[in-house]
Amino acid sequence: MNSALTSAITAPRFDPWRTHAVRVARMTPEVPGVFTCDLAIQDATMASEYRFAPGQFNMLYIPGLGEIAISICDDPQSRGSVAHTIRIAGNVTHALSELAVGATLGLRGPFGVGWPIDGCRGRDIVLVAGGIGLAPLRPLICHLMTHRREFGEIHLIMGAREPSGLLYSAEYSAWRDGGLNVYPTVDRGDDSWPGHIGMVTAILDRLPLRRPAETVMISCGPETMMWYAAQMVIGRGVDAKSVYVSLERNMNCAIGLCGHCQFGPQFLCKDGPVFSYDRVASIMKVEDL
């Protein structure tokens, strides 16, 4: 990842509870139960200084209801507003889904350690996403396309339950044009679905890896999916240190002080959410950890 950038923006030179007032700039329905919310920071100086690294998240805050961690899904080069793709799951996400353009709310961030962009340079990259897990990968996809020549082959495998659940499907052709091999797959097809049916691992199993030792796998989705995907590529010769997963736990403060997001020795908010697989492999399958 761009470590210089990340350390500059996460350096604690401010009150970590300081919350920016933001305005809803755009609301976009995505797949059923999922929408994208573009938020514009009100303060002009803050808005112009705001930067994030792919894989980082913001805390979105609705006064009176609470705060939740949401991955940033925007192009890191975009300016003026920050996009968040959100699945309606609880009180806060439901309230977020009902906000009108122009409504105000709060934003803290960005937080967390993002995807290992530095570790991807010159290597082949396999991106594996499940469902809403594609959202945190989108900034990385944008970055890879912008700097396409710095990277080797790029494969993107994404899975959804059914074709209508495939996130950002309108962008796939642009991603293909940008130099990515895009492989969507669904658990259940329908009459209109011409593509793959099956798990992401079925595609991963057949994916040509021309140089496994020089390949990085990056995944985001259900933990079970990430675990099987990791097993599969490691079995095909990819180093466990070059396999990355993005984990999720209850998050409250986002600054490593509240204890909620602990996963074994890790605080997901400040040590993650992105981890190399070798750091978490031994505890990923421990039940209820």
């Binding site: 007032a21 490691i234 999720e248 509240c258 020795p265 070798d278």
Partner: protein, 378 residues
């Protein structure tokens, strides 16, 4: 310093702008509260402690600090049970958020034990060690004045000697007292302590008095019988995450959170929304939370740790194992509060013994061999 000098110390600290807090009796326990004079101190009282039991008892002498530790710890002042971290106001331009000004309060802690000095050092790491710094803790901690008091007796629940945190107060104080029948022996730890000490009716201690203080401190060390074997403990616990003994503990544990509330190092919290009646002003209040609350790990519709066994495992493995990875030391200082204040008397030192004693090859296989992920690391 004669015992009467204690009054001068309290007054000197108050005159210097400190709010003096220290031991006092409330609800049949020695707790920490505001101290206006020596009359507020638990003079002539002691505490009897064992697993699940705490009782006050009259002493045969008039010692001011003749007890061990109660249910409170100093974290209630440095990391208050409820803190305003931010607020939101709905105005003409929509919601605007603010963070409060740093707290100007200056505390002087009177009667800090060696294990509690260690607990403060540990919480310093948590709240000040970065990458983010807690503004409330920083404001209060940087201004606090610490008067340590060496233990001259120990409870059966104490095991500071196993954790290398006591009973002697070695550092981390402005002043340290040892109470004997002669009065108080005073050690100065900092320049701020020197300034206050200069205001007290003190004279150099003679060798007899120094000897009495040594005997008194040694008495505490000699009374400690409880042990926690910390040798390789981190790995023992982390290699036994699937050990059946977690279920055994869960049969007794009520998941009541007492151990985490009384623990001087536990730091978990949650932020609540507290709106006023108009709904146009919202305070964001951070309050102590506990890994024993099911909601603490709530995510995507259910708690990640939905069983008592998983919650007890989280607490113990964090305290005794992963704390080392996170903060470079154990999270336990051996104060014994979690043992005393557990309503069913669960004793973590005994649970560690049970885990160690039943960790054979078979069980090791149960924990590691079952982990399909283990072979993933080259």
């Amino acid at each position: 310093m004669l015992a009467e000098g204690l009054e001068t110390l309290i007054k000197a600290l108050a005159d210097d702008g400190y709010q003096v807090v220290g031991p006092t009796i409330d609800q049949q326990a020695i707790v920490y509260g505001e101290i206006k004079s020596t009359g507020d101190l638990p003079r002539g009282w002691t505490d009897l402690q064992e697993a699940g039991t705490y009782r006050l008892q009259r002493r045969e002498d008039d010692a001011y600090f003749g007890y061990v530790v109660g249910p409170h710890s100093w974290k209630k002042y440095l990391f208050p049970p409820v803190t305003l971290v931010a607020s939101a106001d709905l105005g003409e331009h929509g919601w605007q958020m603010r963070t409060p000004e740093p707290d100007p309060i200056k505390y002087a802690f009177l009667g800090v034990r060696a294990c509690e000095l260690a607990a403060i050092r540990i919480q310093d790491k948590v709240f000040l060690g970065g990458p983010f710094v807690d503004p409330t803790y920083e404001a209060r901690r940087s201004k606090a004045f610490i008067v340590a008091v060496n233990c001259t007796q120990a409870a059966p629940t104490c095991f500071c000697t196993s954790m290398n945190t006591g009973p002697r107060c070695e550092s981390g104080f402005d002043l340290a007292l040892t109470e004997t029948s002669d009065g108080f022996l005073i050690e100065v730890g900092t320049k701020a302590g020197q300034v206050i000490a200069a205001l007290l009716p003190v004279r150099p201690a003679n060798s007899t008095e120094i000897g009495h203080a040594e005997v008194a401190r040694q008495q505490a060390a000699d009374q400690i019988t409880r042990r926690l074997d910390t040798d390789g403990l981190r790995d023992v616990l982390m290699n036994n995450l699937r050990h059946p003994h977690w279920e055994e503990i869960a049969k007794r544990c009520l998941s009541c959170t007492n151990c985490t509330m009384v623990c001087p190092t536990c730091f978990c919290s949650s932020v609540s929304e507290v709106p006023d009646l108009t709904g146009e002003h919202v305070d964001r209040e951070r309050h102590w939370d506990s890994c024993f609350n099911p909601d603490f790990s709530y995510m995507n519709g259910s708690p990640t740790r939905n069983s008592v066994s998983s919650r007890y495992r989280q607490w113990m493995t964090h305290k005794l194992a992963t704390w080392h990875d996170q903060f470079g030391s154990s999270g336990c200082v051996g104060c014994g509060r979690c043992i005393t204040w557990c309503p069913v008397g669960i004793d973590l030192t005994k649970e560690v013994v049970a885990l160690r004693d039943t960790t054979g090859n078979d069980l090791a296989n149960l924990s590691d061999g079952h982990a399909e992920g283990a072979e993933a690391s080259p």
